[in-house]
């Protein structure tokens, strides 16, 4: 007796589930899984003018990146730049968004407007954001210079993206502006799970505003805070690419040459695909640590179940 489609489904959910997952799995395996594996093979190869020389040089690219006198300094510089950027961007995003979230949590009339406004930076595409800030930072006609000059803060127009000491922070400022809303929404959601009665109890105990924040809000917000820290780190390691591309192209010198930019430049300007792939693998390894922290140690699946239950 042949079984109908429904009958087979009825008996064997595993087969049915995989049939449903098949297209999604295919997309991910073909467009992410296979290239990922292929990139390892690329990283073992030697490239000249964008074509493989046919020499399989195994870990030579990795060694070059870490030790050779030409690439290694660039790589370590990029590591440092990326580290500086990530630390500052993540810290600033977390502090600013937590502050905004606390104000939204005050539940006054203006906070709907605030929430609406926050959607704008979130929705603006990265390169468009970069272009907007490029115009704001413009060293000859930019509005930032104009404003600072008007209020007498500066005597002369100055460049941000052309100054090795400022360029990275110019990028960071634009980055922070775009990424604050997302964590703000997470913090607002987290704060809304803290019952009002907890605050009232703390007030009865004569705790001041700061003390309440330190001793009540912050501990209760800890799970969300950890989550935001890790996810923002994952974002910051990569999502600045459009800004670097438009505002500085890694410069001046290599003051803003982050890992992401270095990989792009190495691969698509110098067509050293093997070396680029090797660097990309190293960046992925760094990210895996945070992804592991995020998915396994913090586990959003379990956590959200807890907060939703509360």
């Amino acid at each position: 007796m042949t079984l109908t489609f429904e009958q087979r489904h009825h008996r064997n959910t595993t087969a049915f589930a995989y049939r449903i997952l098949l297209p999604s799995l295919a997309f991910v395996l073909i467009f992410i899984g296979y290239p990922l594996v292929y990139s390892i093979w690329i990283s073992f190869q030697d490239f000249k003018y964008g074509v493989p020389t046919g020499n399989v040089i195994w870990f030579r690219n990795f060694l070059d990146i870490l030790t050779s006198s030409t690439v290694a300094p660039q790589f370590y510089n990029s590591l440092l730049v990326t580290l500086k950027f990530t630390v500052v961007a993540v810290a600033a995003v977390v502090i600013i968004s937590l502050g905004i979230a606390l104000i939204i949590n005050e539940r006054f009339r203006g906070n709907d407007l605030l929430k609406l406004a926050l959607l704008l930076p979130y929705a603006i595409p990265g390169p468009v954001n970069a272009v907007m800030w490029n115009w704001i930072y413009d060293p000859t006609f930019g509005v930032l210079n104009g404003l600072l000059y008007q209020v007498g803060f500066i005597k002369e127009y100055f460049t941000i993206t052309g100054n090795p000491d400022l360029a990275l922070w110019g990028i960071a400022f634009a980055y922070i502006w775009k990424f604050v809303p997302y964590s703000t929404f997470l913090f607002v959601a987290g704060l809304s799970t803290i019952p009002q009665s907890v605050y009232e109890a703390a007030q009865m105990d004569c705790a001041g505003t700061w003390r309440i924040f330190r001793k009540v809000t912050l501990p209760l917000l800890m799970p969300v805070l950890q989550m935001v820290l890790v996810i923002q780190t994952i974002f910051a390691l990569l999502m600045h690419f459009g800004l670097v591309f438009v505002l500085t192209r890694g410069g001046p010198g290599n003051a803003t040459s982050t890992l992401a930019w270095l990989i792009y430049n190495e691969s698509f300007t110098f067509t050293q695909f093997g070396r680029g792939a090797a660097m990309a693998i190293m960046l992925s390894l760094i990210m895996i640590v945070f992804i592991y922290l995020y998915l396994v140690v913090l586990n959003p699946e379990k956590r959200s179940a807890r907060t939703q239950g509360a």
Binding site: E6, H10, R11
Partner: protein, 371 residues
Amino acid sequence: MGFLKLEKITKRFSGSLAVDHLDLEVEEGEFLVLLGPSGCGKTTTLRMIAGLEVQTEGKITLEGKDISDSPPERRDMAMVFQNLALYPHMTVFDNIAFYLQNIRTPKETIEQKVRQAARQVGIEEFLTRYPNQLSGGQRQRVALARALVRCPKVFLLDEPLSSLDAKLRAGMRSELKLLHRNLSQSKERKGTFIYVTHDQVEALTLGTRVAVMNKGNIVQLSTPRDLYNKPRNLFASTFVGSPSMNLIEGSLERENGSAAFIFQGNRIALGEIGVAALKRANRAQMPAILGVRPESVKIASPGMTGALAAQVVTVEPLGQNNLINLQVGDRMLIALVSPDLAIHEGENVNVCFQPQATHLFDPQTEENLLG
């Protein structure tokens, strides 16, 4: 041959055994109640009948055909869920009509059948509303109408009244009973009901037969009257009846042609019942548990032979009856007596039971010694 038959049905959930080799036969037109404590596998059994859960082992047949492999939509059964599960995005009319629409019934037939079903449960005026605009009782009726409109082979109901308050529940209970009576007398397809509950009052009032379940199996399947009067084992005897049956551990002994139950130096003459139990076990003396329902515990006049000396601990007036906690030796007994009887706390009384109102169980197997 049974109308619906479950043969050696087993359900395992990742290691834990929810239903264990359960056999059950349901006749057409009957109202079978699955009764049991929480977690005993009632819902799981019902869901396997529905096809919402696939049994790990065993076979389910309906009208002689094996339906083990049929998905729920092919079994022609209707289900009333514990949380009702009325489609929140559809009007009451569409909720009731959904099945008929799915099997492509002509519009006029749908209209007519939905109205008829709605009339049967008295919700005709709500047909254009959405479920969230109805009261709990009205929703309950919609859920019933949704099942009724289909004339399914089997109605499956999983604690459908548990979300209602006590008064509404009693009302719906009688309506359900009436509904089943009408359906079971219908000519074409008799309404066959399988009803899950852990409320014994529902079970005893609604069921034509009651299956008491424990730990994934049926421990007794009988008419409500038999279930109450002839519990087959300790579990059924204590689970059914409120307050539950008094149990006394002791031993059953033959004494010159008759038999008596002895515990802590007390002696209760059991006459023929005791003799029959001993004969059945083929022994002259054996450990046993004596069970007696609270309403069969009688307060005797002092000095009556065969009576037990007892002290009244508390008297709880329940309105219709007084519930009396008695101490006999170091055992507590519960008696239900008429409030007319003047009994006071601390008083010493004598109690006795009619032998025919007692039950005897084997302490090892927990089975009724008289079968």
